[in-house]
């Protein structure tokens, strides 16, 4: 699990105690500007706490190698970058960055199905809509098979129907593969429907944490 002890990040976050369980689905909810994204960025060391310590598997994050950690705890930002090239290039870029390789294209096809993206692998990225790009970015992190997924508003560019399909698939995948999924969302409905654990943040402080 992740354990926060007296964490402060600038004037944005002030968390005395927080635990986030592994192998479960956690939703972080709260109004915009409350510090949800900052919290997520602390978990994979995109930023470091100005005070206090976060423990992952009882090891302080500050003592862990940032690059190795980010390959194990992969984050998908709210507006992910789509690189020039094809659908395939974009799916593979995460693996390339983390210096891993893929045996064959079968896995890619499987992922396209999972993210409900009905496009050939060689399709140019220019022909994709905003929502399709968002799903592609989601597929990219699934392909990396990290231990922990950090998703920042993964469905913000999706319409309601697609959102439901994609999030459901993702949750299913995480459970099936015993992964940890930590998802920032403004949607109470998503949080209610899928989370095993919920953290609510207000003005940089944790106001409630509950498991179901």
């Amino acid at each position: 699990m992740f354990r926060f002890e007296d964490i402060k990040y600038k004037e944005i976050l002030d968390i005395k105690q927080l635990t986030i369980p592994l192998h479960q689905i956690t939703c972080i909810v709260g109004e915009s500007g409350s510090g949800k994204t900052t919290l997520l960025r602390l978990l994979n060391k995109m930023i470091s706490a100005t005070e206090g310590e976060i423990y992952y598997h009882n090891t302080p994050l500050s003592s862990m190698d940032s690059i190795a950690l980010r390959r194990e705890i992969v984050m998908l930002p709210q507006t992910p970058v789509i690189f020039t090239g094809t659908v395939k290039d974009n799916l593979l870029i995460g693996l390339k960055f983390s210096e891993k390789t893929l045996q064959n294209d079968e896995k890619l096809i499987e992922i396209l199905k999972m993210i409900d993206l009905n496009k050939p692998l060689e399709e140019s990225i220019e022909n994709l809509s905003g929502g399709e790009k968002q799903r592609l970015a989601l597929g990219r992190v699934v392909l990396m098979e990290p231990e922990v997924f950090l998703l920042d508003e993964p469905s913000s560019a999706l319409d309601e129907d697609t959102e439901k399909v994609v999030i459901e698939q993702f949750v299913h995948f995480s459970k099936q593969h015993n992964k940890t999924l930590i998802m920032v969302t403004h949607s109470k409905a998503i949080a209610q429907a899928y989370s095993d654990y919920q953290v609510e943040i207000k003005n940089g402080q944790v106001v409630s944490q509950k498991g179901e």
Binding site: N44, K45, M46, I47, S48, S62, S66, I67, R70, R71, V74, M75, L76, P77, T79, P80, V81, I93, G94, F97, S98, R140, V141, M144
Partner: protein, 258 residues
Amino acid sequence: MDKVMDLQIWQMAAAYIFIIILLFIVRLRGIAREKEILISSVRMTLQLILTGYVLMYLFDNSNPFLTILMIAVMEVFAVYNIFKRVNVNLSQKLKKIIAISMVVGTTASLLYFIFVVINLSPWYNPRYFIPIAGMLIGNSMTGISLGVNRLVDGMTTQKHLIESSLMLGATPKVASKEIVDNAFDSAILPTINSMVGMGIVFLPGMMTGQILSGTSPVTAIGYQIAIMLGILGSVALTVILFVQLGYKTFFNEQQQLI
């Protein structure tokens, strides 16, 4: 062979009259650049006159320490000029990297040139050492200025790209590769372009100067080719050093973008 013509005072005066005519045209067209043209012409004149006397003194008093001192002055001036010329904010760390890249890159190229290519004897002969150093340092200065602008600009405007790559487990090196490559390209391209047009579109300054002062074109061309290769090498080396060390100053020891 033709006798070398020394320029007479009236001939020099005629060259200035040319600029006065230009100033007149500029004023007539209402282009607000008279001050710059005037200042740069006067500055260039004074600087060159001063350099002429300094060089004459150095040639008459050939001495390794004086040569080295002169190179040091040129390096300091070049580094200072880069700081002034770039229109972006530079961190202290980046300034240090610029200075190190300039000094190491140009000195290494210069030494190779002096000891291997020309095999100068004595090695500190200021007649060769100083003009060659000037060309290497001057061109590297221009190259690195372009590279600095592009690197800092890319690192700030493409923050999002770098962060997204880091989140996917990329090292800072991989995450900033595109920006680093762009910076290198923009620094080296002017040199490459000038080489491509050389001899056909224009005759390079050094060669023109040598030919005008009586050297045979074949000798002048030999030096020009060698010096162009030297310039390319020096610009490339300085800029490679700069971008390879420079991008690191944008990350902290936790591999986070600062």
